[in-house]
């Protein structure tokens, strides 16, 4: 491949990478009937972390009963179809999200602490300091084989400067992923840019027939202008010729690319159209981000990702489920039943979107033909228990996915109250093969995750 610019190199290698992955065939549409050649390949393990802000109405979250005999309460009801792939974990805590003498700012601390287990430094300036997050530790092991070591997505505006909570930098409420104590990884919140990050800036069309037609058309067009330029060349001065040479190089490069598309039928096309921006409803927005996330796993572009369903302290309104009030003020419900009910509605809504994620993973075939969900380890939760009290104990936490046979679902596991959340992370990292001895404030491993 004639590589002309650095930019080009990126994209070329990107497409090549994607193409190679697809040779395995990873996309349903590309799998020839009866293909089994790749089935022998063991599917890699993947991880995902999803965050919901402002805590939950904990009474509507915690199941009655424990072990495998429990009922999904109101908020978790949407998970019923995935009962055997989900465990509810009760009793975990983020001690380092507590004030510890730093005063207000529970939302910022919760956001920064959720995946790091570290007490963030109170500052609204550039001297932010938290810790490396569990997804980034995992990416060091799982991410070496994929093009993107990790993928950070979010469904709310991404601000990284200024004061967002009682003297805490917006970086803390904004980013749950931290590459180092001083390097937050702000989530990509624009689906269009997320798409481009995964698949490049190529203009795809979902319909192969349209693509073929367009390729043919472009070839004819390029033939005409190519000939015209050759004609021109004779009559031009040296500098003008140089410009026409550049032009012709461009023409040939595009022609070559079209040829490649035509000759290589397995070449990659993302099965969704490039998004134009942030969709008008939250449901569409989150589902689009989830689609992109699943696609990234499926095409093996990344094996670790995080999804922020709402930044900590979010004031999003949920008109589409009949809650027009901003989330954060509502979460200070002062135990007023109507307000708590509205919070439960939002919590349930979030969980239903998480169920969409699980559903997508369940119904997407991995390289070995089994559901993608079997090869996932997913954590869903918040670092605030209840928005009214800002408590960081007894956090709402779900674990899902088969973890390549290392995780079992279908249980409500109750740990001793105050058990570090980071013990869960350490246990998952063990399964991912990351050889670390602690994460944040972890004190050990969690039992009972595998049956």
């Amino acid at each position: 491949m004639n590589v002309l610019t650095g930019k080009r190199l990126d994209r070329r290698s990107l497409l090549k990478g994607v193409g190679a992955a697809l040779a395995l065939p990873m996309l349903d549409a590309m799998v020839p009937a009866g293909a089994t050649a790749a089935a022998a390949e063991a599917a890699p393990l993947r991880m995902a972390f999803a965050y919901v802000p402002n805590g939950v109405t904990i009474a509507d979250w915690t199941p009655a009963g424990s072990g495998s005999s429990f009922e999904f309460p109101r908020i978790l009801k949407p998970l019923e179809p995935f009962r055997n792939q989900v465990s509810v974990l009760t009793g975990l805590a983020h001690y380092n999200a507590e004030a510890l003498g730093d005063g207000g700012g529970d939302h910022a601390r919760a956001g920064a602490c959720f995946l790091t287990g570290v007490h963030p430094k109170k500052t609204a300036g550039a001297d932010i300091h938290a810790g490396i997050s569990v997804d980034q530790i995992a990416a060091k092991t799982l991410g070496t084989q994929s093009r993107l070591p990790s993928l950070e997505l979010g469904c709310e505006d991404s601000r990284t400067v200024g004061n967002c909570d009682s003297g805490y930098s917006c970086a803390y409420t904004n980013s749950i992923s931290w590459a180092s104590p001083t390097t937050p990884l702000p989530p990509e919140t624009n689906p269009r840019l997320a798409f481009e990050r995964l698949f490049g800036t190529e203009d795809f069309s979902a319909d192969p027939a349209t693509r073929a037609r367009r390729a043919l058309l472009r070839r004819s067009i390029l033939d005409v202008v190519n000939e015209r330029t050759q004609q021109l060349m004779g009559g031009l001065g040296a500098n003008d010729k140089r410009k026409m040479d550049e032009y012709l190089t461009g023409v040939r490069e595009v022609e070559r690319r079209i040829q490649m598309v035509e000759s290589d039928h397995k070449s990659f096309t993302p099965p969704i159209e490039k998004p134009s921006g942030i969709p008008e409803t939250y449901t569409e927005y989150v589902k689009l981000m989830i689609d992109l996330q699943v696609l990234a796993y499926q095409a093996d572009i990344t094996r670790v990702s995080t999804l922020v369903l709402g930044r900590e302290g979010s004031v999003r309104t949920y008109g589409e489920i009949g809650v027009p009030d901003p989330h954060h003020p509502l979460s200070h419900h002062r135990n007023i039943p109507e307000l708590m009910d509205k919070i439960s509605k939002i919590n349930t809504f979030h969980v239903s979107l998480f169920a969409y994620f699980l559903d997508k993973l369940q119904n997407t075939k991995d390289s070995d033909g089994s559901p993608l969900l079997d090869h996932m380890m997913i954590v869903y939760g918040s670092a605030i228990c209840d928005g009214n009290s800002h408590s960081h104990k007894d956090l709402p936490v779900l674990v899902s996915g088969g973890g390549n046979g290392q995780l079992s679902g279908g249980r409500h596991i109750t740990y001793q109250s105050g058990t570090p959340m980071t013990n869960l992370y350490l246990s998952l990292l063990d399964r991912a093969g990351a050889q670390v001895s602690c994460v944040g404030d972890s004190t050990g491993r969690l039992p009972y995750l595998s049956a």
Partner: protein
């Protein structure tokens, strides 16, 4: 020590230095010496002088500043050194060399050497033939592409916004040599052609509604306990408002969601939000929230409204209307709330004093409760607009415009087309797209493309569309390929006969079509309109009076706004303002509205000079500008109310001309502080065309942490200049920068730099002194030749789309001289450029056969 980031230009400066000394020469008339008179003196006086004073640094080994005087041994060596002498003359004349700290040569020796060098340069200039040069095939840049497509098919969809950034050279992004085509760009051209043709034949693509949030950093402003009685009732000019610009790609309905941040005291009436489009109040919305016990928490409270908006850029503002009204009566503000005000909290009740408390315990508890009440007091202005979201489009205007289809289907688009219709349509379109007549053989491939598509089953429109796409990616459209007149036609009027007679026969007038394109891309950044094309067609564009009339018409046309966007935007570096992020802590008053207002002031100022044919010296010292309330308040000029910009007299103020406009003062500053160096460099490069070379390597930088701590920036700079290595350039830049020290890094007047009183006095290297910017401007305006030549160089560079060369000097000089006759009027400058040799002609040498449309 060195002062921060060194002002290094990112542009190509390949030949830029050629012009440095040239302009100095322009103010220093040189007596042409008879040939040969110099020959003895080099060996006798000049060489020994160089040996004694210069060669210790500027030798073959050290080559300080890339200069080696030791290479000049004989007279014929010396003849080759014109560029070196130009640099040397400048340094010697401004006392920049020998550097401070080294002994100064006697003035008599200096005079002899300077005279020799002046003569050597003048002779070199005489040897240099005046010639028009040749502009390299010029690819349309992003602005030109967008505008051209808009005028070609009548749809304004800005496809080039998706193209990679254009490279710039010589200060502008329309330089033929620099503009390149990458494969990525080629691909974008194909996509853009597809979009453009689709939009013009079938209307814009149906878009899915999307959400775009505009949320600036939280404003910082002083909180007040007591409401103000006299303040901006619209709220637009208060920091509580939010301003932004949004590009609406299509006309349609859009939802505007406005959210608040902050609190109001219990018992306040709802907050009234004003939603403004392009400075007009379009909707008023109430936002309320229940009390959370302590106060009314408005954080995240929001309202939506749907509005119909036309396509284009629109200025959106959301403000708090009558900010200090509707507060509880106890606040004592205007129009207090009619809601029930909760009784003031009783410290005794709040303190919950146990029955058996001692008097001391009671007092302590009450004091604590009072403290708590005080802390929970809600200031009168603690609410602001948090974000505005624009969601849409809905019910957007779809379908093609009749205008677009009329521009394309010129043979009357009925049910049936006759067999010749495609050829007629495509010939007409190609002629407009290529900006010149086209021949039948040229159009043939496009007609064949149409036929091919038809054969494959495409509809008539689709097949035409395919051919149109090909035209839009052909080099004839994407490049301005200039044709020349078949024969040399000497013209005797105006400037364009500047000594080209008798020069190389390769020099030819460009064709009238090429001239029409040069005019339209120069003044409008777009293709020539029908009238220009008609002039070229009838071969009258060069007829006396016609060109002048056309230029005048074009300057009056709204499309000449492109000059403000693209010429002024780059000459005055206004485009930088979009990306400047003045430190939010140090300059909290720098908000989006101020940024927009700053840019608009300078653009309107520039357009006023263009439209009203004012003198270009007004850039230096006009006592009139254009202000809205926001900027007038920022400048401390009373009596300007509302969002509309209007002419405002600057008499009696500390501002005049463009140099004291906030836009220019901001782009020539760092984010946290002023920089006399940057400002000095800005003035030298943009007003005097004197380029400052990059600093020598290994110059220590100024430790930013210490700036302003131990001394004023001026004192620190003066320390800096004690280093002779630095002094030669900094003594040119810094004093100019000092003149502007009364304006802070966002252009606001100040008397002090931190703790230190500002000293805005300075002395130019030639000895002229001044106090403050206004006096400096008078110095420049008083001897305007250098400034006039600078503006000429900038505008000519932009007009031609190429960097200027030695052979352009006579033209530049002549233009500047010519416009001096009538007060340096802008029209005269444009006309003189349009009539100049480089604009009218080109060197056709090395050209076997032009892109001759007669073949």
């Amino acid at each position: 020590m060195h002062l921060g980031r060194h002002p290094q230009s990112t542009e190509i400066r390949r030949r830029g230095f050629l012009l440095i000394a040239f302009l100095l020469l322009a103010v220093t008339p040189v007596m042409a010496a008879p040939a040969g008179a110099n020959s003895e003196r080099f060996a006798q006086s000049v060489q020994p002088f160089l040996q004694k004073n210069c060669v210790m640094c500027h030798n073959a080994k050290l080559k300080t500043a890339e200069i080696d005087f030791s290479q000049f041994k004989t007279d014929s060596d010396a003849e080759q050194g014109t560029e070196t002498w130009e640099k040397a003359v400048e340094k010697l004349r401004t006392n920049a060399m020998p550097p401070a700290g080294l002994p100064r040569p006697p003035q008599a020796d200096m005079d002899v050497v300077l005279k020799w060098m002046d003569t050597a340069i003048a002779r070199a200039d005489e040897r240099a033939k005046s010639e028009p040069g040749r502009v390299t095939a010029h690819r349309l840049n992003r602005a030109e592409y967008n505008n051209t497509v808009r005028d070609l098919v009548g749809v304004d969809i800005r496809p080039a916004d998706e193209f990679p950034q254009d490279d710039s050279g010589y200060g502008f992004d329309n330089i033929g040599d620099v503009l390149s085509i990458s494969p990525v760009l080629m691909e974008r051209y194909l996509t853009a052609a597809d979009k453009v043709v689709h939009a013009s034949l079938y209307g814009p693509e149906k878009l899915k509604p999307v959400v775009v949030r505009h949320q600036p950093p939280s404003p910082k402003f002083p909180l007040v306990d007591k409401p103000l009685m006299n303040y901006d009732l619209t709220g637009l000019n208060l920091p509580n408002a939010l301003h932004t610009t949004h590009w609406f790609s299509v006309e349609g309905d859009y939802t505007f969601r406005i959210a608040l941040e902050g609190r109001r005291p219990n018992g306040s009436e709802p907050v009234q939000i004003g939603l403004w489009l392009d400075g007009k109040l379009v909707r008023t919305l109430d936002i309320d929230a229940p009390s959370d016990g302590h106060s009314i928490d408005l954080f995240g409270m929001q309202r939506e409204v749907k509005l119909h908006v036309t396509q284009g850029d629109h200025w959106i503002a959301a403000s708090i209307l009558r900010l200090y009204e509707g507060l509880p009566p106890s606040y004592g503000g205007p129009n207090p709330s009619k809601r029930l005000e909760p009784p003031p909290p009783d410290p005794k009740k709040l303190a919950k004093i146990p029955a058996n408390a001692t008097p001391e315990q009671t007092a302590t508890a009450i004091a604590a409760a009072q403290e708590k009440i005080k802390k929970s007091f809600v200031p009168a202005n603690r609410v602001y607009v948090h974000f505005v979201e624009v969601i849409g489009p809905y019910n957007e205007k779809l379908g093609p415009s009749a205008e677009s289809r009329k521009l394309i289907f010129i043979c009357g688009h009925q049910e049936k087309h006759d067999a010749d219709c495609p050829r007629v349509i495509l010939t007409h379109f190609a002629r407009r797209a290529f900006r010149r007549p086209v021949t039948a053989p040229e159009v043939k491939p496009y007609v064949e493309l149409y036929a091919q598509a038809r054969q494959q089953g495409s509809t008539f429109d689709d097949a035409i569309g395919m051919a149109l796409q090909a035209i839009l990616v052909s080099p004839d459209f994407l490049f301005r390929l200039e044709t020349q007149e078949p024969t040399l036609k000497a013209r005797s009027n105006g400037l364009h006969n500047v000594s080209y007679a008798g020069t190389d026969s390769g020099i030819q007038p460009i064709s009238e079509y090429a001239l029409a394109s040069r005019l339209s891309y120069f003044l409008w950044s777009t293709m020539p309109d029908a009238e220009l094309m008609h002039c070229a067609e009838r071969h009258v564009l060069r007829k006396p009076g016609v060109l002048e009339a056309q230029v005048e018409r074009m300057l009056k046309d709204p499309r000449s706004k492109a000059l403000a966007d693209n010429f002024a935007g780059q000459w005055l570096e206004l485009r930088k303002l979009e990306y400047d992020r003045p430190d939010h802590d140090k300059f909290p008053q720098f908000d989006e509205y101020l940024r927009m207002s700053m840019r608009q002031e300078t653009e309107l100022f520039f357009e006023d000079i263009v439209h009203n044919n004012r003198s270009i010296l007004d850039f230096l010292n006009s006592k009139q500008t254009f202000l809205n309330q926001k900027l007038a308040e920022f400048y401390g000029i009373p009596g300007v109310e509302g969002t509309e910009f209007r002419p405002v007299s600057l008499n009696g103020t500390n501002r005049s001309g463009v140099l004291t406009q906030a836009s220019v003062l901001t782009v020539s500053s760092y984010a946290t502080r002023t920089s006399p160096v940057l400002r000095g460099k800005w003035v030298l490069e943009n007003m005097l065309n004197s380029l400052i070379p990059p600093p020598p390597p290994n110059v220590p930088r100024l430790d930013e942490e210490t700036v302003g701590l131990g001394a004023s920036i001026r004192t620190q700079m003066e320390e800096h200049r004690k280093n002779p290595m630095c002094a030669s350039c900094h003594q040119k830049m810094d004093p100019i920068g000092f003149a502007f020290e009364n304006y802070n890094a966002i252009g606001q007047w100040r008397e002090k730099d931190g703790k230190w009183p500002v000293d805005a006095s300075g002395k130019l290297p030639d000895g002229r002194t001044f106090v403050g910017a206004l006096q400096l401007e008078q110095i420049y305006a008083g001897a305007p030749t250098q400034f006039a030549e600078c503006v000429t160089v900038k505008l000519l560079t932009y007009a031609l789309g190429r960097g200027l060369e030695r052979y352009d000097r006579p033209a530049v000089k002549a233009i500047a001289q010519q416009i001096a006759a009538d007060k340096y009027r802008f029209d005269d400058l444009v006309l003189a450029i349009v009539n100049s040799l480089p604009f009218e002609m080109r060197n056709g040498a090395n050209v076997a056969q032009g892109v001759n449309h007669t073949t």
